[in-house]
């Protein structure tokens, strides 16, 4: 199925979890946060959150500077 990750169309297997997606993308989980369809998903929920076709995933990082 197709999803988008930061507006880039990406082919993933049906029912992929957010946790697996992050591992597959091999992005640094340190300081990472994400939203699915403009809704923030807390990192503790990533293993149990299954993706659906056409989901829009937004990856962003902790920004704490001032």
């Amino acid at each position: 199925m197709q999803i988008t990750v930061n507006d880039k169309v990406t082919e993933v297997v049906e029912g992929l979890s957010l946790k697996q997606l992050i591992e597959d993308l091999s992005v640094d989980e340190n300081g990472l946060a994400l939203a699915v369809n403009q809704q923030v998903i807390n990192r503790t929920l990533w293993p149990q959150h299954a993706l659906h076709a056409d989901d829009q995933v937004t990856l962003f990082t902790v920004v704490a500077g001032g």
């Binding site: 946060a33 939203a35 929920l45 902790v62």
Partner: protein
């Protein structure tokens, strides 16, 4: 009904001409008390606009001193201020902008032992700090005291703005980031471009004025991401995390 002095009419004439503004809203600004925690790039952007607009009481909290490396993005300070306490220099600048205000200067770092007394009584708290620990602490105390919190952050080319109301059912800062999450993006680690931090701080000032005057309802529970490279903003919703130790009791009816 006349509620403003002749001087106030003159001073605030341009903003009073804005269709959504009026004298009653101007009065609301003068009765408001805003706490600004952190007087770096964000605080320097937000503070002069609030002072200029006539926010009656400003409480400034920062334990740092002005350094040379601050000057590219902290326009409240100049070279002669290097080594001086940011809170006292900023207080003086704000009084120069608007002598009708009460500006409280707290040249101290906000920590667990003083956080409650520094934040208590505020109409709204503005988090302009530069580290995760302070941000978690401010979030926690604002929820404890029931004070709305507008939190801004910037580093590199990225900015974030978060609108939190403890009496509403959305998530809080603790629902967004865990305290143990490291900050790969602090100014020290990654640097920041002045206008990026300025844009986020000025957006924070605008939201603060909208809130105090009730010119427009704020989208509480919204996280806005700013990308300095594209100039684009993106809005995300922050749902509560079940069992959150900070907002857990407030978020039972989120839908």
């Amino acid at each position: 009904m006349t509620v403003l002095s002749r001087d106030d009419y003159g001073r605030y004439s341009r903003q009073l001409l804005v269709a959504e503004m009026d004298e009653v809203k101007q009065q609301a600004l003068s009765h408001a008390e805003v706490v600004i925690v952190g007087l770096g790039g964000l605080g320097c952007a937000v503070a002069p606009y609030l002072a200029g607009a006539g926010v009656g009481r400003l409480r400034l909290v920062d334990g740092d001193e002005v350094e040379l490396s601050n000057l590219p993005r902290q326009p409240l300070y100049g070279e002669p201020d290097i080594g001086e306490a940011k809170a006292s220099v900023a207080s003086q600048r704000l009084r120069d902008i608007n002598r009708t205000l009460s500006v409280q200067c707290h040249a101290t770092r906000l920590v667990k032992s003083n956080a409650e007394s520094l934040l208590r009584g505020a109409s709204v708290v503005l988090d302009c700090t530069d580290n995760m620990a302070s941000r978690q602490l401010i979030n926690q105390v604002c929820y404890q005291l029931g004070i709305p919190l507008i939190s801004s952050a910037a580093s590199g080319m990225q900015g974030q703005l978060l609108l939190l109301h403890p009496h509403q059912a959305h998530g809080c800062y603790r629902c967004l980031y865990a305290p143990a999450q490291s900050e790969p993006n602090t100014c020290l680690a990654q640097g920041v471009l002045g206008p990026v931090v300025g844009i986020v701080g000025i957006m924070q000032a605008l939201q603060t004025l909208l809130f105090i005057t009730a010119m427009a309802p704020l989208n509480w529970g919204e996280l806005r991401l700013f990308d300095g490279l594209s100039g684009q903003w993106q809005a995300l919703k922050l749902p509560p995390l079940e069992g959150c130790p900070v907002c857990g009791e407030n978020n039972a009816d989120y839908s």
